[in-house]
């Protein structure tokens, strides 16, 4: 499994760092542009005094900020797409002829793809957050007051370092794991049922599954919230929130295990490389 993961990791890294570099540069430029007036190097220049130049600068400033936020969205989207494409191409296109004839178990293949997605999802989240912080730091000009920044940073995360925060983090993690498997199951099923346009079939399976799950959980949620014996809005507090988080965690964990087993079964029994 380690060898498979190594190649999956390297594949994503090759494209990911380029997207990260673009995001980082846009964060720096965005931060400088959006920042305080005194940060402008053109402030004292003759050019800056003219109205036209002012307008151009103002537009450039807006554009660079918009570009940063677009780059941020683009970076996250790109990371998701590259992970999905790695799974799809490596297993269900011609590359699958090599992957599925390697002397490894199907479980190792799926596990490596899952961990690859998980690692890159976490890296992407951290990188996006750090780039956002870089942009904000430059914008607020608080690089000079870095100690103050870390104090507020510690204070902010200190709030979450308790049982409730950890429970919330665990639920987010289980949600992430389930969503990775849901996408993988959709691609596997889509690639098996379709002879052509496998990706579109996968997208269809993904949305169909999501609709079914949404309907089921909406019904369940309504049953619970309309039953006062189970749910009382008046007494809703942190303990109720914890219970809700635990329920969400358990549901995600069950769906994750179910999805994983289903995916593995399809890979073992119904592989359909054209």
């Amino acid at each position: 499994m380690g060898k498979l993961l190594k190649y999956d990791f390297k594949y994503v890294l090759k494209y990911w760092w380029v997207a990260l570099a673009v995001l980082f540069v846009s964060a720096v430029i965005g931060g400088i542009s959006e920042g305080k007036e005194e940060l402008y190097w053109l402030q004292d220049a003759d050019l800056y005094s003219s109205l036209e130049a002012n307008e151009i600068l103002s537009e450039l400033r807006s554009l660079s900020v918009v570009f940063f936020y677009l780059a941020l969205i683009g970076f996250i989207s790109f990371s998701v797409i590259i992970i999905i494409m790695r799974y799809y191409k490596n297993l269900y296109t011609d590359e699958g002829y090599l992957t599925f004839t390697l002397p490894v178990k199907e479980n190792d293949i799926l596990l490596s793809k899952f961990f690859n997605a998980l690692i890159w999802a976490v890296f992407t989240g951290i990188a996006a957050f750090l780039c956002f912080m870089v942009e904000r730091l430059i914008y607020n000009g608080i690089i000079s007051d870095i100690d103050g920044f870390w104090d507020s940073f510690s204070l902010f995360f200190g709030e979450f370092l308790n049982v409730h925060g950890l429970l919330a983090a665990l639920t987010v993690f289980s949600q992430l794991c389930f969503n990775i498997i849901l996408v993988y199951v959709a691609i596997t099923v889509g690639s098996i049922i379709a002879t052509k346009h496998k990706l579109w079939a996968s997208v269809g399976v993904y949305f169909a599954t999501n609709i079914v799950l949404t309907i089921v959980f909406t019904i369940l949620f309504n049953v619970v919230t309309f039953n006062e014996a189970i749910w009382s809005p008046e007494s809703f507090g942190l303990e109720s929130l914890d219970t809700l988080l635990i329920v969400c965690f358990v549901i995600d964990a069950v769906l994750f295990v179910g999805g994983y087993i289903l995916n593995l079964r399809f890979m073992k029994k119904r592989l359909n490389l054209a």
């Binding site: 191409k89 490596n90 011609d94 002829y97 004839t101 178990k105």
Partner: protein, 235 residues
């Protein structure tokens, strides 16, 4: 012991059996030609042996073991299409095969690539289709496998390329191994074959035997026999 055994092997797509109750036994140290018209089930059979498809019923044994990662360790498979990851460099591919196959001989790969003047630093995406196929063949033939499965290795290749591919196969395969080549270009591979299997639609064996013996007995080449057996409208 046979290196490959197929017992009552059946593969059904929807309701149509592509292979129906096939029995086959291949011995080590021989080159077999699995010959038949397009759509007779040659590729389906190869895919099942390689572990890419599951049989509907029946059994496949490679070196006495059912298909598993253990059998994949000793089977070198060349599909009819290019399965290489485009962004990889040739040297990355060598490292990949080295990582996954204990029987991969890096030196053979280096030598064959040098003979073809293929730069190992080249990205696979910039290689021509012909060179990609050759790189793929080199990777497969650089393994010291017990069973080589070569699916249409010369289809879509010019005559000079065909000669090179056949020379590579004959010159590099492990003499104690078994090679199974599928093709419908009988004339080009005939000289390389020890044994032949004519496969009919439905995955049944129409005729099989030793290539030299059948040529001596009938006075005809395999290509001529193939044309007789598969004359238009005879099946």
């Amino acid at each position: 012991m046979a290196i490959l055994e197929c017992k009552s092997l059946t593969k059904v797509y929807s309701v149509k059996p592509v292979i129906n109750g096939l029995n086959l036994s291949l011995q080590a140290g021989k080159i077999y030609g699995l010959l038949g018209p397009n759509g007779c089930g040659k590729t389906t059979l190869i895919k099942m042996i390689a572990g890419l498809l599951k049989p509907s019923s029946g059994q496949i044994l490679v070196d006495g073991k059912p298909i598993s990662p253990e059998t994949k360790k000793i089977v070198a498979y060349l599909p009819e299409r290019t399965y290489l990851t485009a962004g990889m460099r040739v040297k990355d591919l060598i490292a990949f095969f080295e990582d996954f196959y204990d029987d991969f001989d890096e030196n053979i790969a280096h030598e064959m690539l040098a003979n073809l003047k293929i730069d190992e630093n080249s990205s696979l995406s910039i290689l021509s289709k012909g060179n990609k196929e050759k790189v793929q063949l080199i990777m497969v033939m650089s393994r010291r496998a017990k069973l080589y499965l070569l699916d249409e290795p010369i289809a879509g290749v010019d005559p000079a390329g065909r000669d090179y591919i056949l020379q590579t196969i004959i010159g590099n395969y492990n003499p104690e191994a078994c090679v199974l080549i599928t093709t419908h270009l009988i004339h080009d591979v005939e000289s390389a074959l020890d044994e032949f299997i004519f496969m009919d639609f439905g995955g049944k064996v129409l005729r099989c035997g030793n290539a030299d013996e059948v040529r001596l007995a009938t006075g005809k080449s395999l290509d001529e026999l193939f044309r007789e057996d598969y004359k238009w409208g005879s099946f």
